[in-house]
């Protein structure tokens, strides 16, 4: 374990998260919750678990908002978190050159590079073993395609100039040519949750994995069906049927007679009596009215209020709106 005590990691956070709008109109993408936890916390916790002591976030958007949250995580997790801010977009390799001084220390230990949009089981310990066994410069995880998880020796940094560069198109081919690039098949699930459709599928895969590894974290009871995650500070009323594949965040109130399936209910949401929600994401502090029916990839941004008896079929609603008329087919409500 001594080998691991100084390992570092870089998480590519990148830009504006426009594909996850309207959620990213309220928070930068890494702080958008997934399974009741900010997306980036899933990665940081996985790194902490295998002994990484310092994580560098490569960002180019809203550093102030990020830095506030990071202070919180730093103290709670006991891991050092810093930001490396791009002043111009540097692609997928440029940020490594920018953070060079933080990543390459005298220990010569390899460092991880993760993509902040990716959710997986993060078999990082296995990856370290794999990397040491082949002795090459770079290891990448693949799952039919590049999974966006890399373990690289500091020597890779010598190959990257500080300019917009793609690690996949420009750097890896060179390393492969030198016979120094090795690929490991990613065991377990993998999902790029950078857009709502994949976010919802990703939750199913994640909860499935949780069922196998730590089933005690999932909810149980007569009103629960399949895999359901409920924050300890959420309240659920009588006569509900929740699940499968549902996450209910802190401070949520689910009133009686509510049906929820394949959906994410974010912090502070109130779902009123007799409502029915499926395949949707309900943003922070929103409310869904009595007898409302919300389905088919409806995404409610922060502070959206769906009135009683309303039907939303795929409505994508920007923050701070009130929905007083039914949305009969998928539509963006600005």
């Amino acid at each position: 374990m001594k080998d691991l005590s100084t390992m570092k990691a870089l998480i590519l956070v990148g830009g504006f998260g426009t594909r996850l709008r309207p959620l990213t109109l309220s928070f930068p993408k890494p702080l958008v919750d997934f399974a009741n936890k900010p997306m980036i916390l899933h990665q940081i916790e996985a790194l902490k678990a295998i002994g990484v002591t310092e994580v560098v976030l490569a960002i180019n958007y809203q550093p102030e908002v990020m830095l506030n949250f990071l202070k919180d995580f730093e103290t709670k997790l006991g891991i050092k978190i810093t930001c490396s801010q791009e002043t111009e977009p540097l692609g997928t390799a440029g940020p490594l050159a920018l953070a060079r001084d933080k990543l390459a220390d005298k220990s010569g230990e390899p460092f991880f590079v993760l993509n902040s949009d990716v959710i997986s089981e993060y078999p990082l310990k296995e990856m370290i073993a794999f990397h040491k066994s082949h002795g090459g410069e770079a290891s990448i995880m693949v799952t039919k395609i590049n999974a966006g998880i890399y373990l690289l020796n500091p020597s890779v940094l010598d190959r990257i100039e500080l300019k917009p560069t793609s690690i996949e198109k420009e750097i890896f081919p060179k390393i492969a040519l030198a016979g120094q690039l090795f690929a490991m098949v990613l065991p377990g699930f993998w999902m790029d949750i950078g857009q709502p459709k994949d976010y919802i599928s990703g939750l199913r895969l994640y909860l499935d994995s949780l069922r196998k590894k730590t089933p005690s974290k999932l909810a149980s009871g007569a009103h629960i069906m399949g895999n359901v995650l409920v924050d300890e500070n959420a309240k659920i009323g009588d006569g509900c049927l929740i699940g499968p594949d549902v996450a209910i965040g802190p401070g949520c109130v689910v009133e009686s007679g509510v049906r929820l399936s394949r959906c994410t209910i974010m912090r502070g949401v109130r779902i009123k009596k007799h409502a029915c929600i499926s395949s949707s994401i309900i943003g922070w502090h929103s409310t869904v009215g009595q007898w409302a029916r919300v389905e088919n990839m409806t995404i409610l941004g922060e502070d959206v209020h769906v009135c009683d008896e309303i039907y939303s079929n795929g409505g994508v609603v920007l923050p701070h709106k009130e929905i007083k008329a039914s949305i009969l087919k998928p539509e963006i409500v600005m």
Binding site: F16, T18, L25, H320, E322, I332, M334
Partner: protein, 415 residues
């Protein structure tokens, strides 16, 4: 008797950020009152109109946007006008009459004999001196600016009935379900200080009785408990309606243009109306050129002095180009607003569109709307820092900030 030493103040209601999502996506980057129409911030037009009021002592902007948003503008306009212009921030929305009352002491500081109350998002010729003359003649407590519109349009506004001889306001109703009249409230008023007593009475009235109001949805949205706070006083329902027919309120009809600027599409239309007004009143503000030393200019066009426009570009009619914009060779711009720092590359075409700050339009790109100012996708709006790549066509679409369009789109909202 008219006292030439009597002071007058003007109050302009500028609203705030939680209300009105209708100005998205432009409102993501700027408070609506500061959005440029004909090259000047929206609020600049009513302020400018106030210049012609005799004995104007102060101008107040009242709203609940953050103070720092207005700080720069307010200090520069005060210097320019040599009249104090102050931004007063409400801690929460009080309604148009409530806001006036909330700052009563400041407004009455110079003991003004008359108070103009204007809404920032109204686009009109603001005939303020003429209104004041008429108001003095009527001798009432308040005078409303009114205008005739088509019968269908009237139902969207406050409809009123006025006595054709005395011009007294006889009857007023906000957004009625059945037709009342084709005369509507323009949102520009003059009051004597008595108005404060009237508002005060309403406060006490609210404290005494139970809340039985039906609220408009926007008000319901503001209020956490879905009932009006006692200090939320609306001008139309609470003041104008009850006082109609009591020889207190009068009307002054304008024959010029009038529009409400509620959406980005309307801001494009109103920018054109103000450009036409410049043609009439201050033609030196408009650009001209024939393709020799300057680009070819057709109709009413405003070009900020720092903008660089190639001589082979053809600009207009109804185009407004903001600071630091670069327009390359062979570009055609018609009926559009190009916001600060945008770049328009060679041979691009823009019509019925708003191009956002720092955006970039590629060579031979085409960004256009059909020019319907009333429908959701009637013009094309590009938010801040949107890139349209070479040869891409964008029609009747709204694009949120920081997007890159590399394929053509029609009738879409792109988040």
């Amino acid at each position: 008797m008219k006292n030439s030493e009597e002071k007058v103040v003007a109050v302009i209601m500028v609203g705030g950020p939680t209300k009105g999502t209708r100005f998205r996506p432009l409102s993501f980057n700027t408070p609506k009152p500061l959005f440029p129409l004909a090259g000047q911030p929206m609020v600049h037009h009513p302020i400018s109109a106030c210049k012609s009021i005799p004995n104007l002592a102060q101008i107040f902007l009242i709203g609940f946007h953050e103070e720092r948003e207005f700080a720069l503008y307010v200090s520069s306009i005060s210097s320019e006008l040599k009249i104090p212009v102050r931004y007063l921030k409400e801690d929460k929305p009080h309604g148009s009459a409530g806001g006036l009352y909330y700052f009563k002491d400041l407004i009455m500081e110079d003991n003004p004999s008359h108070i103009f109350l204007l809404n920032c998002d109204v686009c009109c010729s603001f005939p303020l001196p003429e209104m004041l003359v008429a108001h003095r003649r009527y001798g009432g407590m308040g005078t409303l600016l009114v205008i005739k519109v088509s019968a269908e349009a009237a139902s969207e506004f406050g409809e009123l009935v006025a006595d054709p001889i005395t011009n007294e306001l006889l009857h007023y109703t906000e957004k009625p379900e059945t037709f009342v009249s084709d005369l509507i409230n323009c949102g520009v008023y003059i009051f004597t200080p008595e108005i404060f007593n009237v508002i005060e009475d309403i406060h006490t009235h609210y404290e005494d009785r139970a809340n039985l109001h039906t609220l408009s949805s926007s008000e319901a949205l503001w209020s956490a408990t879905k009932t009006p706070a006692k200090d939320f006083v609306r001008l139309d329902q609470d003041i104008l309606s009850p006082l109609a027919g009591k020889k207190q309120l009068y009307t002054y009809e304008t024959m010029d243009f009038w529009e409400q600027i509620k959406t980005p599409a309307m801001s494009l239309k109103c920018s054109a109306l103000y450009l036409a007004q410049f043609r009439h009143k201050s033609p030196n503000l408009l650009a001209c050129g024939d393709g020799t030393k300057n680009p070819t200019v057709v109709g009413d066009v405003y070009i900020h002095p720092s903008a660089k426009v190639h001589t082979t570009a053809k600009i207009g009619p109804n185009v407004s180009i903001s600071a630091n914009v670069r327009v390359a060779a062979g570009v055609r711009l018609m009926s559009c607003i190009i916001l600060d720092d945008a770049e328009i590359q060679e041979n691009a075409f823009v019509m019925y569109a708003i191009v956002g700050w720092k955006s970039s339009l590629g060579k031979w790109s085409r960004v256009q709307g059909e020019g319907d100012y009333k429908t959701k996708l009637g013009i094309t709006i590009l938010g801040e820092a949107v890139t349209v790549e070479d040869e891409v066509v964008v029609v009747n679409s709204i694009v949120l900030p920081n997007k890159i369009l590399n394929i053509s789109v029609q009738e879409e909202i792109i988040l």
